[in-house]
């Protein structure tokens, strides 16, 4: 299966084939190191947290790329770098032909209309002192899209209805709503500027299972209706499998495996991906009784002082001597299936 038609065979995606081939975002060798300083007045840099350490991937138009990994693997930092909320240490983020890391502030503000974000926590990502209508209307006002307040209110109500909320909610405050409703407000706010590309950073992780399915369906409907492209960041492997076309697995600042969704889940090659998939409990007691519960040893090392060579080697079952010395090449083993492991 080629990457071009991979997306259209799955789900009821309405995206045309012609558009799918185009690359929307191209991330090249992105690095984000956070300095650790000592000293009160003049901070001396004593160490660096290598949150993202040289990752490359691209996202096609209309595609949903999943970014999966455990806490601290750098998936959120990657999203923040694309949004230019962090100034990347090195690397390029090419969005429609332009490198966002080098874009002047003014031009970046224009691009920002096209790139939006939905955050994880629906409790802290909405200003508790603002009414829902103002929260959703603010980006429209700031970007001067609809200057007329009456018209703007109309648009806000439209957006609320689009996200399955009662338009009357515009006069409510966030604390008057449930978690699922708040997350719908977060989605409506992200849609307010008619974006092309939305970064969903753990967008459904804080929700209860029955509500989670509602929001996942909403995100999928919107993707089809507005031909949106998603970068879907999550630690939940079952949700990623459901919603994504391609999936990148991150570990300690590196992408260790990247493939078409079905290929990755049916034929995981990197030992970390395998360990991750084996660790997810499956809601079927009969299957669970038959599964071997091999548990990956140890914990994720500190990104301040990551292991030499392959970052996964201290926990890896396949590790050989050379793994602690040589950084494995991120290579294409099959068309579209990339792995950073010398032993597969």
């Amino acid at each position: 299966m080629s990457p071009e038609n991979g997306a259209v065979t799955e789900g009821n995606t309405q995206v045309t084939k012609a558009k799918l081939g185009e690359v929307l975002v191209d991330v090249k060798d992105l690095k984000m190191y956070f300095p650790i300083t000592e000293g009160v007045v003049i901070g001396r840099v004593v160490a660096e947290v290598k949150a993202v350490d040289g990752i490359s991937f691209h996202i096609n138009k209309g595609e949903t790329l999943g970014l999966v990994g455990e806490s601290g693997c750098g998936k959120t930092t990657t999203g923040r770098c694309i949004l230019q909320l962090e100034k990347a240490t090195a690397g390029e983020i090419i969005y429609e032909g332009r490198d966002l890391t080098k874009l002047p502030q003014k031009e970046m503000n224009v691009v920002r209309e096209k790139i939006q974000v939905i955050f994880q926590d629906p409790f802290s990502s909405l200003n508790p002192r603002m009414k829902i209508g103002d929260i959703i209307g603010e980006p429209i006002k700031v970007h001067g899209i609809i200057p007329d307040p009456k018209e703007r209110q109309k648009r806000v109500r439209e957006l609320l209805m689009l996200c399955g909320l009662n338009p009357k909610f515009e006069d409510r405050y966030p604390h008057e709503m449930s978690g699922g409703q708040r997350q719908r407000v977060g989605v409506a706010r992200a849609l307010a500027l008619n974006p092309e590309f939305i970064i969903c950073d753990e967008a459904v992780s804080a929700l209860d299972v029955s509500i989670q399915a509602q929001v996942i369906n909403l995100l999928e409907d919107l993707r089809d209706e507005f031909e949106l492209t998603y970068l879907f960041i999550s630690h939940d492997l079952s949700v990623i499998r459901h919603i994504c076309h391609r999936v990148a697995v991150m570990y300690l600042g590196h992408i260790v495996e990247l493939a078409e969704c079905d290929e990755l889940y049916d034929n995981p090659l990197h030992p970390y991906t395998r360990a991750l998939l084996a660790a997810v409990p499956i809601p079927d007691p009969t299957l669970e009784a038959e599964r071997a519960h091999e548990v990956v040893k140890g914990e994720v090392p500190s990104p301040i002082n990551p292991p030499s060579g392959c970052v996964f080697h201290p926990r890896c079952t396949l590790a050989v001597d050379s793994c602690s010395k040589d950084v494995p090449e991120f290579r294409e083993i099959k068309p579209g299936h990339w792995v950073a492991c010398s032993e597969v």
């Binding site: 299972v209 029955s210 369906n217 459901h242 079927d284 009969t286 994720v300």
Partner: protein, 332 residues
Amino acid sequence: MATLLEIENLKTQFFTSAGTVRAVDGITYTVDEGETVALVGESGCGKSVSALSILRLIPWPPGKIVEGRITFDGVDLATLSEEEIRQIRGRDIGIVFQEPMTSLNPVLSINEQLSETLITHFGITKQEARAKALSLLEMVGISDPDRRLDQYPHHLSGGMRQRVMVAMALSCEPKLIIADEPTTALDVTIQAQILELMKELTNRLGASMIIITHNLGVVARYADRVNVMYAGKIIESGTAKDIYHNPQHPYTLALLNSIPRMDQPRKDKLDPVEGQPPDLTQLDDGCSFRPRCRFVQEGCAKSFPDLENVSESHFAACFEKGNLVEKTKVDS
């Protein structure tokens, strides 16, 4: 197997300015010796409150056990004095809380926290308690335990803190362990480590476990019997196989259908439970799930269906139990 814990018609309510919250509304279940029983449900369904009620950890005001019996090892915990229940907490019943960040005391070293329970319940000296604490840390797989004993919670990772919590819960070799969302805050590989550890240690001690979680996968992997809760009531109860292969309550069915499954082909669309869970201050006499139920009928508004047998081990509180499979076929 002998019954270790028997909960009968337990009702815990919170008296707030917004009205009386019927957090736990008449639940009945048992835990046998050596058995792992799961309480499953979404936030606010009363699963944690029901577990805290067992240990009488409900703060008054505003919360109170208003009715019911909690028979543990022949003793009714609901009638014990504060001093008597303290003898049981930590000794006969251990508890593992969800948040290892907030449930350990940040200003006490690991040694002090582990020793406290041991000294209280066994009256041993500090030196003896330290030696015991050391062996406990070894048992839960913490490397370099001697150094870790003198460290504070902030020195440890989330997974290690949860290991300390497990060590603390097991320190007095309890007969029952209550694990309240023990792995919800942890990463999936660490979750697997902690759950395997708890399973192994409870087996070794022959202890029973009540595991409270919203994760249906965790339940399928570790529980012998499952109680599904909704709005303060147990709406379905049975062995793990009963619940997962033959759900008889519309809520259980809907819950199982709403999660994305890794073991099944990908669906075009998920099948969510529409609507919101009810406000627990506004419950009426009818079934609390009926506004979200696909199988709702006239009788549902009049009275709450009793939890009745579907098979010998399997109970469901629904007028339509036994008919769900057929009805689903007709619908589609």
